[in-house]
Subunit: 289 residues, 4 copies
Amino acid sequence: MENDNKHTWKTKLHEIIYEADTRAGKLFDIILLIAILASIVLVMLESISSFDEKYHAFLNVSEWVITILFTIEYIVRIITVNKPIKYITSFYGIVDLLSTIPKYLSLFFVGSQALVALRALRLLRIFRILKLARYLGASNQLASAIKASRAKISVFLFAVIIASVIFGTIMYLVEGADSGFTNIPKSVYWCIVTLTTVGFGDIAPVTPLGQFIAAVIMVMGYGIIAVPTGIVSAEYTKATNSKDKITKEEETQLKTVTLNTQCCANCLAVKHQDGAEFCHKCGCKLHYD
Amino acid sequence: MENDNKHTWKTKLHEIIYEADTRAGKLFDIILLIAILASIVLVMLESISSFDEKYHAFLNVSEWVITILFTIEYIVRIITVNKPIKYITSFYGIVDLLSTIPKYLSLFFVGSQALVALRALRLLRIFRILKLARYLGASNQLASAIKASRAKISVFLFAVIIASVIFGTIMYLVEGADSGFTNIPKSVYWCIVTLTTVGFGDIAPVTPLGQFIAAVIMVMGYGIIAVPTGIVSAEYTKATNSKDKITKEEETQLKTVTLNTQCCANCLAVKHQDGAEFCHKCGCKLHYD
Amino acid sequence: MENDNKHTWKTKLHEIIYEADTRAGKLFDIILLIAILASIVLVMLESISSFDEKYHAFLNVSEWVITILFTIEYIVRIITVNKPIKYITSFYGIVDLLSTIPKYLSLFFVGSQALVALRALRLLRIFRILKLARYLGASNQLASAIKASRAKISVFLFAVIIASVIFGTIMYLVEGADSGFTNIPKSVYWCIVTLTTVGFGDIAPVTPLGQFIAAVIMVMGYGIIAVPTGIVSAEYTKATNSKDKITKEEETQLKTVTLNTQCCANCLAVKHQDGAEFCHKCGCKLHYD
Amino acid sequence: MENDNKHTWKTKLHEIIYEADTRAGKLFDIILLIAILASIVLVMLESISSFDEKYHAFLNVSEWVITILFTIEYIVRIITVNKPIKYITSFYGIVDLLSTIPKYLSLFFVGSQALVALRALRLLRIFRILKLARYLGASNQLASAIKASRAKISVFLFAVIIASVIFGTIMYLVEGADSGFTNIPKSVYWCIVTLTTVGFGDIAPVTPLGQFIAAVIMVMGYGIIAVPTGIVSAEYTKATNSKDKITKEEETQLKTVTLNTQCCANCLAVKHQDGAEFCHKCGCKLHYD
């Protein structure tokens, strides 16, 4: 009897946490959403030193409140799920753990010399934002379009990298250290900045030849940005059309005459209308097995 | 009789202001268009301090002329419309009011200490530009394409923001305050600047590792710009094709043989040509109810 | 007899200059092409002060040679064409004149005070480059795609400008003169720089709120760049498909049974196969008029 | 007998080097891949002066190891291939040679005055990266889409260059040397930087008129980026659809009734179903020759 009670209690909690059909489930989701966004805002505010100095106590308390909330959520998720190991080792399970642990670790690593390592650990909480991905309406067509074009875009990006390495090396030769092209990796970095039309301007060609090559790279980058766009565009069009087409085809088949592979026993004529009982050539009865 | 006269007078004004079929209506529209553009130019010129100092009197008079014109327009619109409350609370009604009011408020808030607040109020007039949207030829296909892809683009932009928050935090860790990445919000801002291929260059990575991550962000941004383009492209193609297809389908139905669900009373054969009176299998007369 | 001779001579020259079928015509085109490119290179080299100082004499002589060549071409074009006025007032006629005249004017306006005006006139020769457009293979599909989408792109760009004016004004209010946003036109300029993902970085937001709004503008710009691309993409697809479709439709009509609007005189049955001579309902002869 | 042995040995090596079906062939490919990537990393590390100073000996030895490996590969490729001359003069043959030679040349050109020339030769090894192109999965649809749109994109890029030259000249006139527009080639360079939405910001317009023209160029660039994208998108859609369509058409032809050009000898009726033996008009036997 008690086991039954416990089961009901577990099932109910499972429904609240993992589903969003009930009123309690929806409320839980909204609270979690607010907690995630609040924790990200906290991480950001903490990084602003002037803000951190003023409101350190407030930030610390808020951090603890949210950390305890996430800890409770993590434990309840483990309890209510049927296969806890599967949840713990899943992507969201790891994200949930990583976003809870840093604050507890800060208790053990106190002291000025551990501050740098701590800063990094604190920032792990930023991965809580990935929890938001749960609320992303799974737009299947979009996902399948990206999936279908992933391989082709990879080939394309690989080509972009090869071009960047070659042009980066040429620019290193042409411009040299005086213009900021101090070594090849930096030149390749500049080339990627230019080819992707970002263009920071922290490094920029100074010599006429360098500017000419830069112009070539830019026009090239402007021309080839069309390639991945074309790929996704075509794949997405296909993905959205395929469903429409299937429905339309079924409809079409109802309306047009389809021919079967039946062969007349009398005159060996083929291509009879589907369901025809008499041969359209000799008028004899067709025999279906 | 007078009521009738008034009615005619109101109807006529309504025709001039809200419609553009009559000669007077067209003239009104052109004058309003010029007045809007002139008022925007005035706001811009006023913000240039060197210009404002020289021609302050001229700018002030011009402002009053345009403000009075817009006030008359606003009052006449309220009088001539059938449901004044609906107009006043509508989007364009609020824009019309907001673009008229600041100049009158400047009479009450005179004095050096009120100048800053006044400056902000003056700029509300910039919303007059939204009146120009009335003249935008409603390109329905474009609007429906954007509407259809709005949800998908939102999901996509949300993903961009999540990526920016994570990469911004990583860059804050890698580069630190010395390179200009003073806090996480600033790093996230830099990440958005980079991912959208804008690339101001006011903040730029300095360390090799930072530049490597920046290169990854850029190539990623270059690859994913294809996604919204593909979506709009596909949706727009669908929007423009759908109308063509409907016409073509109607035409097709006229030309191809369609089959009905009539069943022959004699041989139980189905799939007869629409309107056929004799069974194509046994040659018996078909009976329609 | 002389008139005839002259006519032949004119016709021959016309063939060489305006057509490219004969050997002489092709040679003329190639020489003209080289002359145009050379003249543009000359204008560019002249603008480099260090180069101009060294090789002033060479540049001057080259200029005169090319100017005389273009003058001869211009005169011959007028003589050989049937309607000289039409040529002179045509686009290319004006370009031809504008690219010849500046050098002659430099003879009359000598003196240090006329140098600035002269510099501007010299640069008119850059329009010779538009002559090259004559050699552009008229890619009709591309042109028709751009033509078809021109109106929609204009609406779109108008919306971009409205957004720039509003966001530019907001940024002027938020950032102010200290960050470089000295007046509204400059802020609008910055907003266009950002929205189009160019991002010079000569002006950049400094305040957190300004950077937040800038981030919104950038993500918006990143999202809406998809719109014109989608339009051109769809229009171009239509332009290239339309020709294919027409050919395919003709082929299809040959193969599928088409029904006519003939009405049986005996049983009033319609939907007869095109060219059928007997009614498919009552078997009576059909009478075509 | 020995000849046979040698033949087998050559065939086996050919299989290993040029193919990837056998286990040894796959292993060879993986080792080569690692060697190529290692050699590129070495070239990059060498260019970082601080790294080169510290680990010069290690870099030198590694270079020699890889150079000898590539030399062996080059020689074996020549031996095992049937037409050595064809391989040597092929694109990959030249790349293979160019990536091996510089290190050997460094033995002959030792001395401080030859260092600059040597630096350039060393960098030729970067072309080894093109060997990686061998491993690019030949995405035929992508290649054919680019091939099909190459001509149109060239026309488009040519138009972009013409626009850049004209606008660059105008900006040179408007802004002048004080704003960094020191000569026309530099202005054209700036114009390409702007039109392609790269926007370094090393040169930026300062005068209001210059900023206005810059805004026009940017909006133009933003609008026309759609053109190449639209082209590739449409061509790629065609390329991917064409294969699907062919399969679908074959399927369709099996199901729909096709008409032949047979003419009835009795009643001269045409448009008979393919393979029909009796006229659908007069019921007479059709005679095929």
